[in-house]
Amino acid sequence: MTLTLLIAGLLFAGGAAFAAVRLVRGPTQIDRAVALDVMLAIVVGVIVLLAAVTDSSVTLVIAVVISLLGFIGSAGLAKLLPRDRR
């Protein structure tokens, strides 16, 4: 399980780093919103991975809440972005 934690943690870190580069560089605000969605999915994945490695189901509630908040944030950004642009 330690090897699983190492490999999956490195994969998650790489994905989060690439998404952070897109978050900084994104030409439009929509690209930044998409990069934030990817980073939020990565956060959920890391929380779930830690729950699997440490054999504790306490942090899974955080994953539920973050997946719901991610949808609310993405829908709100999609609603508010046109007024920001034009």
Binding site: L11, G14, A63, G70
Partner: protein, 174 residues
């Protein structure tokens, strides 16, 4: 390491690999819509693989219920949020094309109008004969002529917008 732990490890690593692929795609893809297309992959398939790994690792029914709740929430909300984002991106793309077309047409009309005013201005000093009597009247004639360019442009834009709004309203009302 038992067999279920091995399968759980493989599922967890595959889910993490899915998020890495999404990060690379979000960084490397050239278009906003293709980035959104790639960004939806870890939100559904990656989460599903990770939940499979956790469910194999911790097998209690309460945990499995919570994992099924997360997977169902992601299945419901990820396409909806992706659809909302793509709709905004599509509207911005079409608005950019309309703005570019409007800027092109405005540039063409301005380019067509500006030589007329330049010719009128160049004809003024080009005809000095009889300018002594009409020297007071020529600039007064020239200033409204010079003002007619933007004024006519504004009137033309207002006339375009004024019939445009009643045309737009029935289209928007349907």
């Amino acid at each position: 390491m038992s067999t279920t732990d091995l399968i759980a490890s493989i599922a967890l690593i595959l889910g993490a690999l899915m998020s890495l692929l999404a990060g690379i795609a979000v960084l490397r893809f050239p278009d906003t819509m293709s980035r959104i297309h790639a960004a939806t992959k870890p939100q559904v398939l990656g989460i599903m693989l990770l939940m499979l790994g956790v469910g194999l690792r911790l097998g209690s029914p309460a945990v499995i219920g919570m994992l099924v709740l997360i997977v169902v929430l992601q299945f419901v909300t990820a396409p909806v949020s992706a659809h909302l984002t793509v709709r905004v991106a599509y509207r911005h793309a079409t608005d950019d094309q309309n703005d570019a077309a409007a800027a092109d047409s405005a540039g063409v009309t301005a380019g067509a109008r500006s030589p007329v005013t330049v010719d009128a201005g160049s004809a003024e000093p080009g005809s000095p004969i009889g300018a002594s009597l009409e020297a007071g009247s020529r600039p007064t004639d020239d200033k409204p002529a010079a003002d007619d360019g933007p004024a006519q442009m504004a009137q033309a834009l207002a006339e375009e917008n004024a019939p445009g709004n009643p045309d737009v309203d029935p289209d928007g009302a349907r």
